[in-house]
Every structure is written in C-alpha cells, then in structure tokens.
Symmetry: D3
C-alpha cells in the first residue's frame, strides 16, 4: 500500500491538487539526502554543454553529483549506449528506453525519454504509445521484433533463448545490433530501478516538450 | 509476440516513422468492420453536444454506433458514473480511470482520460503520473487510499476483503463513496478490455490537450 | 492475509460450520450499508417479472437499489449483452461469463452464472468445468477459441493483438461476434470487481439449481 | 491456447453441448493409455471397501492400477493424511484440499473433494466457496489462518517464513498441526499436478452429491 | 518481508557471517518441535543402509521420524519414483527434481538433489545449471522437452493440455514415461512445500559432494 | 518452450551428459559472433592483473572486448560499485549480486558471484543460500533488510516507496548506503539481462572455487 507524504493535509476532500503532484520536482531530485561534490572540470564542462544544448541539466545527472566517480561511470555508459554509432538509430534506442521503462513503470525515465521519442520522431503520439503500450503502435516488423525482445528481456530474462535471438536476426538485425538492443534494455532495467529506489524526479520542463 | 501491420514495409532500417504510429486513428477507429446505424434523435443530439462542448465526438462513442442499444447503455452508465453527483470529485473519478487504465495498459483510455486529468487539475504532470505510476505522485492520504483500492481491485479482485474497505473508511470515505470507487474501477476494467480487444484508437486531438 | 468476521467465535477447533459459510447471504447482500430507494414503476415491474420467471430477484439487482439510475443502467447493459439477439447463443454468453468469473475468482458471479450454464446446457458438469478450469472441458474449436480469447482478455488485455482476433475469425466468428465476446468478457470483468469490492452474496437458491 | 478434441465437429455454431463436456469421464479416466495390472488381494479388498462405502471406486485409484506399487504408495499416503488421527478435523483437511486445488484450478480434485466438503459439513455452499474463493466464506480465525497458510504455500512456497508459522500458532495450532497443514497442502499440490498432467476425470457421480 | 532470527545480534555492520548461514543445519532439522518416535526394525534397517551407502541419513528422513506411518509412506513413494525401474534414467529423474525445486526455490531439495545430479552425471556444472536455470544447459531435445513439461506443470498446472503431452511423445516418451515425469514433478512440488513450510535444513555434507 | 542445441544428437535416451552441459563454456563465451578488438594498453594491463590475482580473465570481460569503449565503461562502473569504499562490505555487495541474480535466474552471474560469496565469507553454504533462496539463510536484521529491498526492487520496482527506504534506515543504513544497495541491485538487473540475452557462459573454474 502506498505511503503518503505526511506534509500533505488530508481534509476529507481533495482540493487544489493543481501542480501539487510534481511540486518540487526541480529542486528535490531524490528522496535521499546526499550532498553534492564539486564538479570536476570535465563534468562541469559536460553540464555546461547540457545547459547549452538542452537548456537544462537532466536531474539524473544532478542526482549522481554526490560522487563524481559514479557520475562519470554513468555518463560514459549512457553516452556510449545512446549516442555512439550503432546499427540502431537514436530513435530506435529511445523507443527501447521507453518501452522498457513502461514495463517497469518508471516515472523518471518515462518522462525524460518519452520526450526524446517525441522529439526524435516528430510524432508526439509515438512517445505516448511507447509509454502506454508499444503493442498498440503501428510498427514495422523490425521495430516490433526489437521491442518484443527488449520487453521480454525485461519481464522474464531467464526465458530468453536462441529462438529469441533468431527472431531478431530474421528481422534484419546483426549480432552487434542484438548486443546493442540487449545492452540498452539492460541499462534501463538498471536506471529504472535506481530511479524508483530513490524516487528520482524528472525535470518539469520535459512534460511540455514536443507535444 | 506482437503481430505487425503488414501494410508497413520493413526495409531493415526504420525511417520516417513520423506520425506513422497513430496514422488513421481518427478515421479507422477499431479493428472491427461494423457499419454504423443511423443515430436516433436522442443520440444525434448527444453527439452534437459533444461537438459543441469538446469540439469532437470521442471515438469510443463512434465505435458503439453499430448498435444504438449498446451505445445508449454505454452512455447511460458512463455519464452516471463520471458526471452525476457523487462524494468523489470529477477529478478523483478521472484519476481512478487513468490509474486503472495504466494497470491494464490501455492506450485508448490512457490518452482520453489522461487528457481529462490534465484539464480538470490544471496540472499537466498529474495526468502523466496517473498514466505512468500513481505511486510516484504526491498524493493526499485520501487520494492514495482511493487509488490503492482501485488498482488492487483491478489486479487481484479476489483478494479484496473487509480490511481493504476499512482502509477506505479510515481515509474518510463513506460506504456510498466505496461503491463509487468500485464501480468506476470496474467500469474501466470493462472499457479497457473492450478497447484492447478491438484495438480502439483515441482521437488524435487528445494528445495535445492541456499540456 | 484474510481478515475474519469478528462475530464468529474462534474456539481453537472448528465446530458446526454447517450452513455458516453463507449464513445471511439472502439478507445482507453486500458489506456496504446503502439504504434502498423506492423502485420506479418500471423497475418494480422488472423485479416482479424476475419473481415470476425465476422465483426470486437476483441479489445483484437488490444491491443496486440504493440508486435507481445505476440500477437502470446496469439492467439495460446486462439485458442487451446477455439476452438480446447475437451471433452467440445464450449458453455461449453464459460460458464466457463463468470462465471470466473463474479467472477473477468471483464468488457471486460463479454461483449465479454457473447455475445459468447448468440450466441452459442441461449439463450440470459443464457449469462446474467453466467455474473450475474451462480447459478441462471437451469443447468444440469454436467454444475453445471463444473462451481462450475471453480469458486472455481478462488476464492480460494489453497483449491482445490482431492475431487473437484472427484466431476468432478462423473459428468462424464475425467481427460483430468478436465485439460481443469482448463486451461480455469486459462486462464480467466489471461485475466481478463490483461484487468482490462489496462482498456481494449470491441468492442461496442458486446452489441447488439444475444439479 | 487450448487444443481441442478433434473428435468434436465444429460447425460454426455450438449446438447440443448437453452432457458433452464430461462425456466418457467414467470410462476414459486419463489421457494416457496404461493397461491395468491385476489387483493384489489387499488392493482388491480396498476397492471392494470403496464400492461398499462410497458406491464406487474413485477414478484416481483406477488411474493408478497400471502399477500396484504406485497405487499402494498413493493409498498409504492419502489415507494417513486425510483419515488418520490429527489435530485437524476431517472437514478441515478437506477444506485445505479444495482451497489448494482451487489455487491450482484442478478439475479432478475440485470435483471429488468439493463433494467431500459438502458431505462432511452438511453445507452445500461451503464446498462451492472453497472451490471458488475461500476468502469469501465466513470463516473462523482458525480456518482462515489455516487456509491462508495453505494457499500461500501453494502459490509462493519460497516466501513462507517463521512469521507464517507464528500466525498459525497464534490461531491455536500446534507444531504437529502445522506439519499436517503443510503435508496436506503439499499432497494436493502433487495430486493436482498428476491429475492435470494426465487429464484425469472425476467420477460423474460426485457432481450431484450433497447438493 | 523476511522475518529474522532474533538470536542474531544486529550491530549495524555485518561481521563474521562465516558458517553462520547454515549453523545448526545438521542438528535442528526443521522449525517444528516434534519429538521422534522409536524407529521400527524396518525403518532402523533402512536408516542403517543409508548410513552405510551414503555415510549419513538424509535430514528429510529424520524430519519424518515423529510419525513412523508418515515416514514409511514417504519412503515408499520416494523410492518407487526415484529408484524403481522406469523409462527415465536415474539422472533424468534427479534433473526433474532439481529443475522443479529451482522453480519453487526450495533450499533443502536444491542442495540434496543438486548433489545427486552432480554425482550421477559426473558433471559438477550440470547440478548448478539445473538449480540456476535449466534453459541455459546444453540439453538434448529429450531432456529439454522433459524439463519444459515438468516446469510448466509446476508453474501453471492448469494450462497443461493435450498439446503438452504430444510434445513429450514427439520427443520419444511413452505414455508410461509421461506418467513418471508428471509423478516426479508432482512429488517435488509436494516435498518442496513441506520443506519450505517447515524450514527443513539439508545435511551440510551435501554442499561439498561431487564438486 | 526451450529451443535446443541442434548439434546435440537426440537418440531417444539421454546418454553420457558428462561435462556436456557446459562444454565449451571457456571458449565460446556468448551466442553472438563479435570479433574482439585489440586491447588498449590500459585494458591489457587490467586483464593481466586479473590473470595474476584470479588466475583467469572473467568471461564477462572477454565478452565486452568487441568494443573497448563498452568494455571500459563496464569496468569503470563495476569496479566502483563492487570494490570502491562503501558503507556496505564487499561480502554484502556480493550477497546483493547473487540474490538479485537468483531472482532473475541468471546462470553467468550466479556462478561467478556465488563463488565470490563463498570466498569472501569462507562459508560455502552461504553462496548456495543466496543463489537458491536468501530467505532460508540465517541473516542478521541488517542483511535481511538489505536483501528484501534489493529483491523487491528487482521484482516490482514500481512498488518501492518511502516506507521501503524507511525500513532500510531502521536497519541502520544511511542514505548513501541506500543508494549503494539500489545501484548494485540495479547493476545486476542490467548485467543479468545482458548475460541472458547473449547466453553468456561463466568460466568453468568458478564451479569448484571455495567449496
């Protein structure tokens, strides 16, 4: 059963929930009290680049600032998986991110990567579909096979067998592509859990992006 | 494994998914071919009122036009549950609708009623939270108890016992309120399934509302 | 863990459970205290017709008498789905009702609609099979496809895709039939939850019918 | 998806399912073709005693006649658990049998032991409640704790811990009683699976007993 | 949530867990206090034979000594299933035992029968594979079909249908073999639950056997 | 259903499975054909250090050699989580690794990290307990709370709420410790999936370590 924020008065009738649901999401980023370290020059530059390109620093990065070694490791792995050359397009990678996060019902990742799908595809509804039920989207065979694999791997990793890899090969994926699908699905199975464990809150700006 | 739309070419690399995900959502409303009956004067007036107040007729109503008796029964039950006087506010009722639909991963209902939560609350993020994971929202005790009950009733109805009703009473709900929570949760457990069984598509206009 | 009726003494050894299990099922119909409204002439006539044809008024109808609008909406939808002309026989519709209610382990609906299957089929065991495990019954391909669809739609509505509808078409069902299967399965997913949420008790007369 | 009996014609519309659902249940007891051995004098006497006391030999015993060693072992274990002196009454033991078999949706055991609950309790509805949802029955604290333990042990045996045994002790059970509850729940988790694996059919006479 | 042994001091940091995890496994065999009966000559001889052949008496046998009738019934059924002539080799039977026990996460049975798989196969890793995820082992079609059936029967017995038996027949199994697979899988679904319900501890000697 | 290695003859009876189950685990590390890149001086030194300290290079590292950027990112994150200073002991971190991998039934991680638990604890049975069912181990309150959190986060991350963090704080964990528990549990939820998706095989040497 859900535990509730004791700071919210319960007066028998809901009233004025306006903006209450996410109040403070941009200032209190997680439920853990972990003081930030001073950014290294490298990370300071990276944060500055985020500000320049995105207009803000994603909260997940701020959440990691309590330990720069962890921050660097996270950034290195994330950037390689989501931005480095791959047989998967950036949009496909973000679609995996959102479909996996939907399986795990992760608020942070659905908000942040749902916005990315909307932006990369130019299709506002595609982000919604990935976050709600990817099976309801009009997908190509390639996209469908990719997401079926990623979601099965999230739900029942112990049941993934050679036949599942063969299904991807039949849809045109190379062995390297299969690794990338698995690695991205795996990464979000990690991030979803860190976010849920710490009640990580997405930057509020994401909500309105590319609608 | 997901079956794919055979009309979409799969050429090994995804390209231009722009707006493809929901293409035709406003014209082909379900996967069933059921010719519409001529609306009765009463239903024609109701549809006209929808056009006037909402600017469009919700696709679920169009989906039922193949049989006016079914359309009338659906409208009567829906309007009573969601619009008639109740101890639950209209926003609370829509929050139940979306949290239940999230449990059932129903694309139609999440899109349509997510928009309603955004509009009634004036809080765009609240609709997202209900659709993604209501447990991540800053809820009052009343709201939390209400959604915990509705989602448990959706997931494991056979495990709902007196203790669950007592939890609602402790949160300030009357027995009549408990009926309404159960009836609304029940209704969306029905509608979610009719929508999923028929691949019902939401009006595309919902996506941008109240963002 | 189950919460127990505090009015039942627990003296360390079970004794005389005779008729205790369902004691009061015909007088205290739900766990909610909701005073009945005076029946409208239309509903009074409907209840009289029940008395005449069945010998009693089903408890679910009595449960709704606290609000005549809700009662009328329920009756309209129920009668259309279960009694109006359809490509599905009345027995088939009742088989769906029981198989879905078995998935949801709903005491009220299993008792009431199990009796209906026994009566309509003249086969006492068929009601038992639907309530226990429809897969153990000797079913025609048509019946099997119908119940597989209805139960999958109950268990994992988000996984119902075009292939599932195709399976029904291969078994001889029209698109209109598919709607009816979905609508009936959906309706009992609603009713099962209202009954479980309110601890609705079936009329005791059902137990012995058509054995 | 359910595989269907190819001997049943599917002509597009269900017709005359009367008594078809269980046709042959008393002659073809399992889906396996295993010729019976000649009964030993001991087992012949036991079968004769069944005929005398019950009026028939339970099909599960006939199913084991292909191997007398297995038959003897089954009978020895069954009779000790269900009939030997115990802190649990015979009715309580049958209630466990049915509640466990309901969890496992085992047609054979629900029919045969549902009849036993009806007979031992003199309460036809109690058998139905155990088979449908034991949580809906008006149970004493003792009965409730007993069935909660047995069903949890059936569903998630790996999660049973000391706290669960303590709950039984608080309800008045001794350590020996706890063993008996566990052993009976365990036994039906075995028998349910042998019955389901072999499509074992219950004697048709059970259906009408003690209604 | 796991309840913890109150006799273990919790001083904020774990220290010296050495051999603590299984401390006493050879002396306190279950969590139930049930005094042993004096062994019958037959059972005393059987225990002596265990000492002679294995070097120890398996704890499960000691656990049953509180009631010699139960002990005898258990031994008779166990020995028939695991040691009597069968179309299944002894190794195959132990593989079923471990794969089923892995599904049920039963510590006692995984330790004791994992050792048996290692000994019978001469392949230490095979025991690990059965205990961890049998799908990761390089299995013959026969072994794979056998374990798929046994594990499905453990997880969802209500979904086992004729098609599952046909799959076994296609892999070369006779109807008698199918009974044996079902009976062994069923037996460990029983034993796993008795062991979990009583916190049964395996003899510590098993851990090092045949590594 | 499990797909089987087509290179293994199926002759109706299993024969000589000896060492077959893991044949080739040290040479064919995954099911994907991905040629290795030449190691950078930094990674060559790291591999040499593994050879020196462990006597071998863990297969997971070899699996990543097809792309040095990915290898470096994996090593950086792994070493920080498992070896850097933390409020959690190295044994505690390995216990989380194994308990999470047991939930996900990951053969690679259970073998490799099970060995680590045995080595760090000097208690061979502790590794088995973590891999089989951590709830059966005699744990301190601290260890129990830590593993309960990690496994709930693995199974149902969407249900982790403030109450779960409070439970950890009551067991003596700081907010930084909570992050570390979450991050390690998250990391193995990633690694388990990469290993399962690619059929990653553990070095055979692990099996006999610290028994």
């Amino acid at each position: 059963m859900a535990k509730r924020n004791s700071k919210i008065a319960s007066n028998g009738r809901a009233s004025k929930p306006r903006a209450r649901a996410t109040a403070g999401d941009d200032t209190v980023i997680t439920a853990l009290h972990l003081p930030s370290e001073k950014l290294s020059p490298e990370m300071a530059a990276y944060f500055a680049k985020c500000e320049e390109k995105l207009g803000f620093v994603p909260n997940v990065l701020k959440a990691y600032t309590f330990d720069l070694t962890k921050l660097s490791a996270f950034v290195a792995m994330y950037n390689d998986l989501m931005l480095a050359p791959s047989g998967l397009s950036k949009l496909e990678r973000e679609m995996i991110a959102v479909a996996v996060s939907a399986h795990n019902r992760c608020y942070y990742c659905l908000v942040a990567h749902g916005a990315a799908v909307r932006q990369l595809s130019g299709d506002p509804a595609l982000g919604e579909l990935m976050a709600m039920n990817y099976r309801a989207a009009r997908l190509s065979q390639r996209e469908g096979a990719m997401l079926d694999f990623a979601v099965k791997l999230s739900a029942e990793p112990w049941r993934v067998e050679e036949e599942d890899r063969e299904e991807l090969r039949r849809a045109g994926f190379t062995d390297r592509d299969i690794w990338d699908i698995a690695a991205i699905a795996g990464f979000f199975n990690m991030s979803n859990r860190v976010a849920s464990a710490t009640d990580m809150r997405p930057n509020s700006v994401y909500h309105g992006q590319a609608r």
